[in-house]
């Protein structure tokens, strides 16, 4: 049961990053690549320095740097966000495979350790799910709460949301669209890098090419499932994390469905949720940021 929370919060870190970028109006389909680069960076540096915290920081820097490419191409130069993001995934998967070729299948030395919460972790059911998690899990929860707070309760968040809803209006109000969007994309890359670090150090406990295995796409899906809200995204992350973590074990509970078919559910559910949103959108405003996917050039407004 410990793994449900672990997988869920790893997905949550990456999804939270995508949420921030999308709230600013930038779709980044490079999550899979940024996670992979973060994962290999964390594995390399964490092992080299014997310290998971250094691994986490380097992973964040690596993810942020890769995201900066998307920021420069898709935001500053205004190229198509879909193409740029997908190329980012291909670049990130290629870079991680290239840089990680000497680290394949080595055991991960350091892991993010558990917080010493004493007897709490021995509680039945709640203990392993909630109280026997690494400190990074608590960081993920903290990041979720602070993202919600910044987006909904501060001027910075208001500016970011304004840029994502109507870039021209925000520009006219003196908000720098390019700076805000690039910052949001880079922040998203840092969080995707954190997710990759969590993946290689604590979940996969090692690096192999393709270790992300589509988890970056689940992060993209989670933002939609969560209707661009940090809290709802967290619920989705735990749900999808549960499905992924339990997938290999369902048969031991006597469930007859193939675990492979269970692993489709996050994607199928996302298509269903998106369809429901589209039907609702006929009667009330859509939950998606209005300017998402659209480049902004001042002279063309």
């Amino acid at each position: 049961m410990n793994e449900v929370t672990l997988v869920g919060l790893m997905l949550y870190l990456a999804a939270l990053g995508e949420l921030i970028a999308e709230k600013a109006g930038v779709l980044n389909l490079g999550v899979e690549g940024m996670m992979a680069v973060g994962g290999v960076a964390a594995f390399w540096s964490g092992t080299e320095f014997g310290n998971p915290l250094i691994g986490l920081l380097i992973a964040g820097i690596a993810g942020g740097l890769l995201a900066l490419v998307h920021g420069l191409v898709a935001v500053v130069m205004g190229a198509d966000q879909v193409v740029s993001g997908l190329a980012l995934t291909i670049l990130g998967l290629g870079m991680s495979a290239f840089l990680g070729q000497d680290y394949v299948s080595l055991p991960a030395v350091p892991q993010f350790g558990a917080l010493p919460l004493g007897p709490l972790k021995d509680l039945r059911i709640v203990g392993p799910i909630v109280f026997n998690q690494s400190w990074l899990a608590w960081v993920a929860v903290g990041l979720g709460i602070s993202t919600w707070f910044v987006l909904e309760r501060t001027r910075v968040g208001l500016g970011l949301r304004a840029v994502g809803e109507s870039a021209a209006t925000a520009d006219a109000a003196g908000q720098s669209v390019v700076v805000t969007r690039v910052a949001a994309v880079v922040a998203g890359g840092v969080l995707a890098g954190f997710g990759g670090a969590y993946l290689t150090l604590n979940l996969a406990k090692g690096w192999t090419e393709g270790v992300t295995a589509g988890r970056g796409w689940i992060a993209v899906a989670l933002v939609i499932f969560g209707a661009w809200r940090p809290g709802r995204t967290a619920v989705g992350a735990l749900l999808f994390g549960g499905l992924l973590a339990l997938e290999p074990r369902l048969q031991t509970f006597g469930v007859e469905i193939s675990p492979i078919l269970i692993s489709m559910l996050p994607y199928v559910i996302t298509i269903g949720v998106l369809t429901a949103f589209s039907i609702q959108a006929r009667h009330r405003p859509s939950a998606a940021p209005a300017a998402i996917g659209r480049a902004y050039r001042r002279e063309e407004r």
Binding site: S84, G94, G214, W217, M264, I271, T275, I279, E299
Partner: protein
């Protein structure tokens, strides 16, 4: 103060995209060289070996062109949707669906003659790819559901379907536990052309040329581009956007499905999980570099085929083949960056009159 600003050109630079792609390739080679140097290889040496493996002999050309087939068809699939302003991110999955469709036909007609079996398998592949694309097509046309996300999600769904098939009900009982379907019947193999190339190359070329001609000459193609440039104009002109979206996305999936069928009958001798091999995603880059034009798709596909063949060749000598993926993505980023200058030019801007005089 003297600065540089981007100013829109009165007319786009002629031949600008060709220049942009070449500039992108140059930037990619430079970036790749840095990576290779850092990993202790001689970049000139590696690039020469890649070029030799891709173009150095008839066999090399046959490898390059064989890889250009799925890249070109996937690129065309994306371009067909793209010329109407729709994104089919699901070519990767539709290639898998096509391969499943083709493999299913081979299971049903194992004893059929090659002359019947091969076309039947390819038709099965076209239907397979088209069927998977019908889901996002209907959702987009009828309910306005964003096709980028649905096609993306269906990639992951169909990947798990094929995983289920080759691990389960279609698993080869004599495969000593490997997750793969049984060998296809011998007569299902596409006839060879030269070296490693088979008639899949001719089929792909015919589809690309045929569609390019049809799209540029027919009323259908004109309406497609009209709908892509302005939905409102298209609706005033009496074009049914819903029907257009339905047919275009389904056709796009069918073309990608054909790529899967050709891979199945041409290169792989059985259905495996990795049949799509990243070609569907690479096809998106191909289509973007080609500005959604079929003729450009063919050229870029051959170019990317060469990069991939080169990447595989240097793998033997211990350099990671992933350099091919890095180069492909960097070409796109370089070309996107360079492409800005086909529509914009850098001009010196001055903020004060004195600086203007100094400039």
């Amino acid at each position: 103060m003297i600065g540089l600003t981007l100013q829109r050109r009165e007319q786009p630079l002629p031949g600008g995209q060709v220049r942009a792609v070449l500039a992108g390739a140059f930037i990619a080679l430079l970036a790749g060289a840095v990576l290779l140097l850092l990993s202790g290889s001689n970049p000139v040496d590696v690039y020469l070996r890649m070029a030799d493996a891709a173009f150095g002999s008839e066999r090399a050309w046959s490898n390059t062109l064989s890889r250009a087939v799925p890249l070109g068809l996937a690129g065309l699939a994306v371009a067909v949707a793209g010329s109407m302003g729709l994104w089919n991110i699901g070519a990767e999955g539709q290639i898998i669906a096509g391969a499943i469709g083709g493999a299913w036909v081979a299971r049903v007609l194992p004893d059929a003659d090659g002359v019947i079996l091969i076309p039947a398998m390819l038709i099965g592949a076209v239907i397979g790819g088209g069927l998977l694309a019908v889901i996002p097509a209907v959702l987009r046309a009828q309910l306005g559901v964003n096709e980028i996300i649905t096609t993306l999600m269906l990639n992951e769904v169909i990947l798990r379907v094929v995983r289920y098939l080759v691990n389960g009900i279609w698993k080869d009982p004599g495969g000593s536990g490997f997750p793969q379907a049984p060998l296809l019947p011998d007569q299902s193999a596409l006839p060879g052309l030269f070296g490693r190339a088979n008639i899949g190359l001719l089929i792909a070329a015919a589809v690309l040329i045929g569609f390019g001609y049809f799209a540029s000459r027919s009323k259908w193609g004109y309406e497609l581009r009209l709908a892509g440039s302005s939905e409102k104009t298209a609706e005033y002109a009496g074009i049914s956007l819903r029907t257009k979206i339905m047919t275009v996305l389904t056709l796009s999936g069918a073309i990608a499905g054909l790529a899967g069928g050709i891979e199945l009958t041409g290169s792989s001798s059985r259905l495996v999980e990795g049949v799509a091999n990243g070609w569907g995603f690479a096809g998106i880059i191909v289509a973007a570099l080609a500005l959604m034009r079929p003729s450009g798709v063919a050229l870029v596909a051959v170019f990317f085929g060469a990069v991939q063949v080169g990447g595989l060749a240097i793998q033997v000598s211990g350099v990671s083949a992933s350099i091919a993926n890095i180069l492909q993505a960097m070409i796109l980023f370089g070309a996107l960056a360079a492409g800005v200058f086909t529509e914009y030019k850098l001009v010196r801007s001055s903020r004060s009159p004195r600086a203007a005089v100094a400039a």
